[in-house]
Amino acid sequence: MLKWGGRVKKLFMLAFANIRKTKGHTVSLFIMFFIAALLLNAGLLITFNFGSYFDNIVKDLNTSDIYYVMPDHYYNDEVEDYLDHNDNIIEMQKVDPMWVNAEVVFNDNMWKRVFLLNDADKAKTRTMTKWKFVGEHLPVEDMSIYLPYIFQLSGGYELNDKFEMILHDSKLEFTIKGFTEDVFFSSPETGFMGVYLPYETYEKVAVQLGEQHQAALVFANLNTMNKDIEKDIRDMLKLESTPTTTDITSTFFSLDRPLVEMARTMMAVIVSIMIVAFAAIIVVVCLIVVRFRIVNSIEEDMTKIGSLKAIGYTSRQIILSIVLQFTLIALFGSIIGIAMSYSTTPMLSDIFAQQSGLKWVQGFDGTISGIALVIILLIVGLVAFISSRRIKKLSPIVALRGGIVTHSFRKNHMPLNTAKGSLPFVLAVKSIIQNKKQSIMIAIIMIAVSFAQTFAVGMFYNTTVDTTTFLETPGIELSNAVAVFKPEADRETIMEELKIMEEVRKVQYIDEVFVNVDGNEISVYVMEDYSNKETDTVYEGRYPIHDNEIVLAGHLAEIIGKKVGDNVIVSMGETKEEFIVTGLSQGAYMSGMNSSVTYEGIMKLTPGFQQSTLNIYLDKGRDAGVFVEKLKHLYGESFLLTLDMDQNMEQGAGMYISIVSKVGITILVVTIAVVILVLYFVINSSVVRKKRELGIQKAVGFTTFQLMNQLSLGFLPPVIVGVCIGSVIGVTQTNALMSIAQRGMGIMKSNFIITPMAITLFGAGIIILAYVCSMLITYRVRKISAYALVTE
């Protein structure tokens, strides 16, 4: 039993003496543990707390399981009676907001969204799906508005700023008096944006807009989460075919809370997986470095160990002092890293808020931070213990003689009389062969960091350089403009006129309606000829050709247990038809709950179906915004809606691009830092270990530069091998990894563009960086003098 004040004090003395002796190594290890703990704690905080933070908000605001929204006139006695007496509804509350399709300025761009305009004063009295302010709010004045927090975070708005909503025939002007948070209507990911107007403002706007903008919004808690109520209401209202991309304010819509939760927290989940995985890589690198340092320090301090043993220290005490030394470094590095990770959570919160709309406030979480700290300390302690066990086998006399048993050169690799190449090169290769373990260690570390780097470069490339694949992530057709015909429009004539417009490359119908597949209410794309589709989302099988064929989203297929070749029953209202699954598609749209059939296929379900949504493809370089204006000018009366899809995609993808590119850049920066730290560590150790050898070489006439070059070249091959293997793994496995990470989003087979050229360039960059760092670190060789060799 070790007693404090006695033997334990001695252990601390020995440990601190070692720390003092190797300040440079201590600092670099400290930084690595700092980075590992920072990432690990941040990753764990997001993993465990971001979701639960959302759950807490759900609970605090008593958010309902589902909401149903429809134009007020749809909410007739039949619907009311149905809802009032539905056994599946535990409780419900109806409110009466207004809803408008409006364009607003968001981060200097025009943003089109459906806004629910709530009476803030009435909404305060809601018992279900409440809302709250984020930060301070100001006293109201004429035409005041409270906006979702995302408008402050990403939209460029502050309190007292003016806020304009441009409707198709009018304009609403407000002054912002507060920012809000609720579960259903605060994120651009979940359909509607909910704004809150003080009573007087609400009344004024209601008069200005008129009754056609009145909506009925029903919040409900259900016994069983299913789509039965939605289906029944649709049936009641005879809404067989509901074009959701057209004027949503004239239709029926419902959204359940689990879907909202997934949509609002998905990116945080993905990012947390990436951060934890990357933290694990850094921890492993730290452990490898700890082991390397201990093995080296035993060699370097062999005589010191001998002296300690000779004066009566036991092997156990010496081993424990080494374990203590590294555990202390890990402890201090980790504590500061963990503390610093809390300063990153507001930044992470801001990043996630772009998708979640949530202002995530993370206080100190002792449990998670404790777990992160204990994980790191335990494995460091264990690795240190295992690495220093060989001290037990050293007899004092052998250690005092400098550990003659430790060197046993068996073979003279690359004899200088026959080896080809310059002297520094051959000596470098000899050094690599003689230090196999060190070379393998460097190679393994380089494999890990190169893989992370390739992954980061891949993400960065796909989000900033070539965003094609990234923009295909939602799985929707990438056209430049969308126009939706009014029922009375002369479709054929306009279609023909559009086709011959000089800037138009192609025009085709792609509609979207709701159907029921095996009890799941899903959206279905309708197209005459899928060979004309430009965004290929089918990753297995093929698009439908015949009227009895259907493509299911992979995520949906997994849920209902179908695969290519299986049959599914598709129903719309009372009509049911059997379809054969010809392919599986992917896409984050509707969280992977979608499908595709041919025009003939949908006609079997709803014979009166009329295609109305035009996807318009422009020649390269044409401005979709200008074209949409032209369309409005020429055919404004014939279209229910016209959309600049280029702008829409840019805005929609913008937040993902922002998040993913930030994560990519962070991984890149950390990777480079780790490469530098590891090289510093290894090379510095190596120079200390080879001091005698280098002194001899200097004595016989090697210059400092020759020795720097020789040492640096010696580190390059494992670096090159590691970078090559890591990059190859990265190139081949990044998409597999992304597929796993994005599966929940409906991306079953990630197709990120991994450009060998970019990876090669970055790999070459790492190699050059490694060489330059090696040269800079080995510059300390200049301090080794030949004279010191004979005088020491």
Binding site: P415, L416, G695, I696, V700, G701, F702, T703, Y787, V790
Partner: protein, 252 residues
Amino acid sequence: MSNVILSTNKLCKTFSNGGMQQHVLKNLDIEIYEGDFTVIMGSSGAGKSTLLYALSGMDKPTLGSVRFFDEEIAKQSNDMLAVFRRKNCGFVFQQMFLLDNMSILDNILASGLLVSKDRKSITARAKDLLTQVGLTEVIWRKFPSQLSGGEVQRAAIVRALINQPKVVFADEPTGSLNSAAGKAVLDVLTEANNNGQSMIMVTHDLKSARRGNRILYMRDGVIHGVCDLGKYVSGDKERHDKLQAFLAEMGW
């Protein structure tokens, strides 16, 4: 009279030890001649090794000059001195200082290939020299730790000679060897000197000193006396007596 190969002018070397200045070499003016086997003797702390390393460019003097023929080396940069050493100097240390991780032959070639790019001829010369010092082919491929001290020191002498240096500096080359091994090493050095190789050797061993033709005796950082003995001839009693008398005079 032979050429002056090395000369010093007011050579000083001062060490700072705990704030105390320790003057190890004091205004030394000496000349070393080409082809000589110069032996530097003196008591411990007299400055023998300090002088040897100042002359060889291994260490820089605090003041004064060191000239190698007409070239001033005292003020050269470390890298210039490294190039100077590889081209002009050979070293034999008491601790041998061969590279543990290389075979005997590689140790020699690592030095030789610094100066000559002709791998074949330098290898041939190395093998020739190794044979001359009595190290057989079996030994060439062994590592220093697998050989006796005497064998390692003979290999170190070959390394010192491989680049045909102008001068070989030996610092107590027999200091860690038994008498038989020491004699063998001295025989090799003597043989090299007989072949025209200039030698400067620091020693406090009388048997070693006898091999020199010119003895410099140092005390307190200055040359206290010089004795010209003439070429070494084994068993020359008169020469031996002269050296003993000189050393006695010096208070050795």
